[in-house]
């Protein structure tokens, strides 16, 4: 029997690996849109969340809209404006990155087992996915030099934390209004980062963070 939630989680894991291995900005943004869609769909397929209140339906629609349309849209606008096609020189190469991604999955399995949380079935896989996404995001931020890839890494980190919250906390704590606040922060954050990116590009003619090294002691 194919379990819906497992399919979604495996797809999220695949999207993490794909993002680590792709050099084109547009592909990266498409992957992020897909990942956002999967992350916002995941709670609906978790057994605990099967009965939704009317507020919940509204919230999930908003989340789906923000994660799959608004944020990737903002990134798309940023990329077209600064006309950057691909990451030329990553600090860590693409093959090595994918390999690291696989290592991260193994590490996540190990961590999940060591935590001793006695999670049942789906939640264990969810936690593994969450930790992998989180650490994959951090890795992407550290191993790429273009500022826009770092924003994408931040988004992935945030997706990971979102999944982590889903895996660890009971649904009864999650007030939709509070979750919406977190989501709004993320949206505004990406907007602000987009504006700074645009300014960096105008001032330096590039969005490579290698140029950002004047301030130090």
């Amino acid at each position: 029997m194919i379990n819906n939630i497992d399919v979604i989680l495996v797809l999220i894991l695949l999207s993490v690996l794909l993002s680590l291995g792709s050099s084109r900005m547009m592909t990266l943004i498409k992957i992020m849109a897909l990942q956002g869609a999967l992350v916002s769909l995941a709670p609906i397929f978790l057994d605990q969340h099967s009965r939704l209140s009317s507020g919940g339906v509204l919230f999930f629609q908003l989340m789906f809209l923000i994660k799959t349309a608004l944020i990737p849209g903002l990134l798309y606008m940023a990329v077209t404006k600064i006309s950057i096609k691909r990451e030329v020189e990553p600090i860590i190469g693409y093959h090595a990155s994918i390999f690291t991604g696989l290592g991260l999955i193994l590490l996540s399995v190990y961590i999940t087992q060591r935590l001793g949380l006695s999670l049942h079935g789906d939640y264990a896989v969810l936690l593994i996915t969450a930790i992998t996404t989180l650490s994959g995001g951090l890795f992407l931020m550290m191993s790429r030099t273009k500022a826009i890839t770092q924003v994408i890494g931040y988004l992935m980190l945030d997706n990971g934390i979102h999944l982590m919250g889903m895996a660890l906390t009971k649904h009864s704590h999650n007030l939709y209004i509070v979750e919406f606040g977190v989501l709004l922060d993320l949206l505004v954050g990406v907007m602000i980062m987009g504006i700074i990116l645009h300014n960096i590009n105008r001032t330096f003619d590039d969005v490579d963070t290698m140029y950002l090294g004047q301030l130090k002691d």
């Binding site: 660890l168 906390t169 509070v178 979750e179 602000i192 950002l212 301030l215």
Partner: protein
């Protein structure tokens, strides 16, 4: 209602983004004054909260709110006259973001729900980012990028920390609303392992924002590149809000019987911050960076005091108040210096005592204060922290603390003397103006007054904030 404290600046801030500059300046000062008034009214007769699950007036939050509101009044007054001299590319954005910044900080101070606190603190990062890169210079852009990225990642880790705290509730089978006040009453029942994990993540997350070493790397850049009124706010108000987040969780830890664990972590991070700041202040070529490192040092002092507890905890709270007053005053004076000398390099400034005598009084007074000399308040607070450290049996930490403070003062003194009396150019670019000197002087004066006479309500609030976790004034 309680929420008006932060709704007012948020709404006015959004409006001023679209107002003409002149009207925006008026709106800035009027809102600042109104905000102080509402805050004071809330002190006298606490307003009921319309959303009791999310907001409430806890004593520590009230303290941070009052400090923020008070210094904001003077910073906004100074800001108006500063903006007249300094060409700004988009002043409405600057004014609007200042007000939004005030609003989000007030929200953080009043938050009772952990995630609401998190949302407010992340929002402070976002609305203060435009303040830093308002002039769009290369360095300012670099500073903003580091600020936004490092703080966002740091704060994201704090969110993870709050999830762990929720997990510690679930693990213990506890069913109370997720607010600090109700968690505090049920602290003993929380699962200790997950609570500890949560505290570590929150300390690292909010510690990044508070400027504790080694997560402080964004701070000197952002504080030195922002226009001076914004630096004064960042240093005098924002760091306190991040500290408040750590303090609330530390309170929870102490009530859960894990005070020794969180306390020793705070002591370690505090001491390390003071030492790092001391090393970087020596021979610092940029005086705004020097002030920024001094903020790191003072945040270290506060973390150290809170970690020690007892009398030192009272000292730490006093330190928070006086550091905000003195450091914002120093940054405002530094703004006058930047206008006058046209540079942030210590080597290119000099002879301040003759060229800018009024600013000299304010800057030198601030230096005396921040070095922990009487008659300013930091003298008392640092004295209490040292005393508390010896009393509670931390002689090694206390000695290290004193030694690092001496290092900081030495570095600071060398820079200030060379700027005040050293040789230099004969002329200055912008003459100093009495209106730009009064706000920093007023902030200094408040620090002196608070040493001689502290209002009963203020004293009582500090005591209320610290007695829960064993803080006391009677050593």
């Amino acid at each position: 209602m309680l929420e008006s404290v932060f709704l007012l600046p948020l709404v006015v801030g959004l409006l001023t983004l679209f107002l003409p500059v002149r009207l925006g300046r008026i709106a800035l000062v009027v809102t600042a004054l109104l905000h102080l008034q509402i805050t004071l009214l809330n002190w006298l007769h606490p307003f009921p909260s319309n959303f009791p699950g999310f907001f409430g007036s806890a004593p520590a939050g009230l303290l941070v709110l009052l400090v923020t509101s008070f210094i904001f009044v003077f910073i906004s007054l100074y800001g108006i006259f500063y903006m007249k001299e300094q060409e700004m590319q988009s002043e409405p954005i600057f004014i609007g973001c200042m007000l939004l910044f005030l609003g989000t900080m007030s929200m953080a101070a009043l938050a009772d729900h952990p995630i609401v606190l998190w949302i407010a603190i992340e929002a402070t990062t976002l609305v203060s980012a435009p303040l830093i890169f308002i002039n769009r210079s290369k360095k300012a852009l670099e500073a903003t990028w580091k600020y936004v990225l490092i703080c966002s990642v740091g704060i994201a880790l704090a969110l993870l920390g709050f999830f762990f705290i929720t997990l510690s509730m679930d693990h213990a089978g506890l069913d109370v609303p997720l607010t600090f006040s109700s968690l505090n009453t049920a602290a003993r029942q929380l699962d200790p392992v997950w609570l500890k994990t949560g505290f570590i993540f929150i300390l690292i997350g909010f510690g990044t924002k508070m400027g504790l070493a080694p997560m402080h790397t964004w701070l000197p850049d952002a504080h030195s590149q922002a226009p001076s009124p914004a630096s004064a706010l960042l240093s005098g108000a924002l760091l306190n809000c991040a500290f408040l987040g750590i303090y609330k969780v530390h309170t929870l830890m102490v009530l859960a019987g894990l005070g020794a664990f969180s306390g020793s972590l705070l002591i370690a991070f505090g001491l390390f911050s003071i030492v790092v700041a001391g090393i970087f202040i020596l021979h610092q070529p940029d005086y705004k960076r020097m002030l920024a490192y001094s903020s790191i040092e003072n945040m270290g002092v506060i973390a150290f005091g809170v970690g020690i507890g007892g009398l030192a905890l009272y000292g730490a709270m006093l330190h928070l108040i006086h550091h905000s007053l003195l450091k914002s005053s120093l940054f405002l004076s530094a703004g006058n210096l930047v206008l006058g000398f046209g540079t942030k390099m210590v080597a290119k400034c000099g002879n301040m005592v003759r060229l800018m005598p009024k600013t000299f009084v304010a800057f030198f007074g601030g230096f005396i204060g921040i070095s922990g000399l009487p008659p300013f308040g930091i003298f008392i607070s640092e004295f209490m922290i040292v005393l508390g450290a010896f009393q509670t049996g931390h002689p090694v930490a206390a000695t290290l603390f004193i030694a690092s403070l001496i290092l900081v003062v030495a570095g600071f003194a060398q820079i200030v003397t060379s700027m005040s009396f050293g040789p230099c150019q004969e002329e200055i670019l912008v003459q100093e103006q009495i209106l730009r000197v009064v706000p920093p002087l007023a902030l200094l004066l408040t620090s002196v007054i608070l040493c001689i006479w502290m209002p009963e309500a203020l004293y009582q609030t500090i005591i209320n904030a610290i007695t829960v976790i064993g803080g006391t004034i009677h050593g």
